[in-house]
């Protein structure tokens, strides 16, 4: 069940990467990358549960934090055209 969900989310993120490849504007690609990030962090959570190791869950939290900061950096760049403002 858990591994099945992990495979399911991985296949879903491969399907979403179609939108990242083909998306007409840059916003499409960013939203696709955000979706892939959240799906793959769910995959990491499933792997941590499958191995029953509590310390692997920390990595998912660290990845979620840094994915959020990534998205803020992209948004800042597209809003102002530079990162300094």
């Amino acid at each position: 069940m858990i591994m099945g969900l992990a495979i399911f989310f991985t296949i879903l993120s491969i399907i979403v990467s179609y939108r990242v490849v083909i998306g007409p504007t840059i916003t499409d690609r960013l939203i696709g990358a955000d979706t892939i990030g959240i799906f793959m962090s769910l995959v990491m959570l499933m792997i941590a549960l499958e191995y029953d190791l509590a310390l692997l869950v920390d990595i998912v939290l660290a990845y979620a934090v840094l994915l959020f900061i990534d998205m803020l950096i992209y948004a800042k760049y597209f809003e102002h055209g530079e990162l300094y403002k």
Binding site: A62, V65, I69, L72, K76
Partner: protein, 239 residues
Amino acid sequence: MNKLMKKIMISVVLTGVAFALYQNFSLMPEYQGLNEGLSNYIIKSGLNDTGSLNLITAVLYDYRAFDSLGESTVIFGAVSGIVLILSRKMLPVSSKGLSFIVKRALGIMTPFIALFGFYVITHGHLTPGGGFQGGVILAAISIIFSIVYGSAFDYRRYSPQTKTLFETGGALTFLGLGLAGILMEGAFLQNLGFLTAETGTLISAGSIPYINIGVGFKVGAGLAIIFYSMIQKTFEEDF
């Protein structure tokens, strides 16, 4: 006179380095072959030697702590070069930032991100992570400040002088623990035995948590300096 003082100081420092190197080389064990010796030895008796549950941290900050010192010196060199090339005086700071929603929500979330960074740093000998990874999470706080609230906020809260202070303080912590290893245990960066407590608790594993804290502050402040120097605006008048 000035040149003479410089030469004397350089020779004193070089003598100290030679002494540390001689101490280390005299303690080296015999080579036992690649398959037999090292990895099996570390897996078998790493916990007894260092008291650290995470064997990778044990290798990084106890067995191979001298390499980690070299790596943090590399980061120090990179920071120095980037600041030397890219930093400019009399900067116009800006405080536009992102929208109000993001500012208000990150005001709530940022302390927890800092807490998570400190958790990763201080639990380096118990869970995966350690100084470098937690330091990058701490540097993300400075990135958040200059991205979300504008670079004026980052400049006011953590000015480059404060960041430099943190970085040199981390490096000096590392070096000071190494010198304490010479004084008390007989070798550079030897694990301090009298700090060891029960295995699995937070303050255990000798000097490894303190080295982790030093490396964490050093890496976090160094990467924050790199990011702050790299996003600066270039003036058209400069060219």
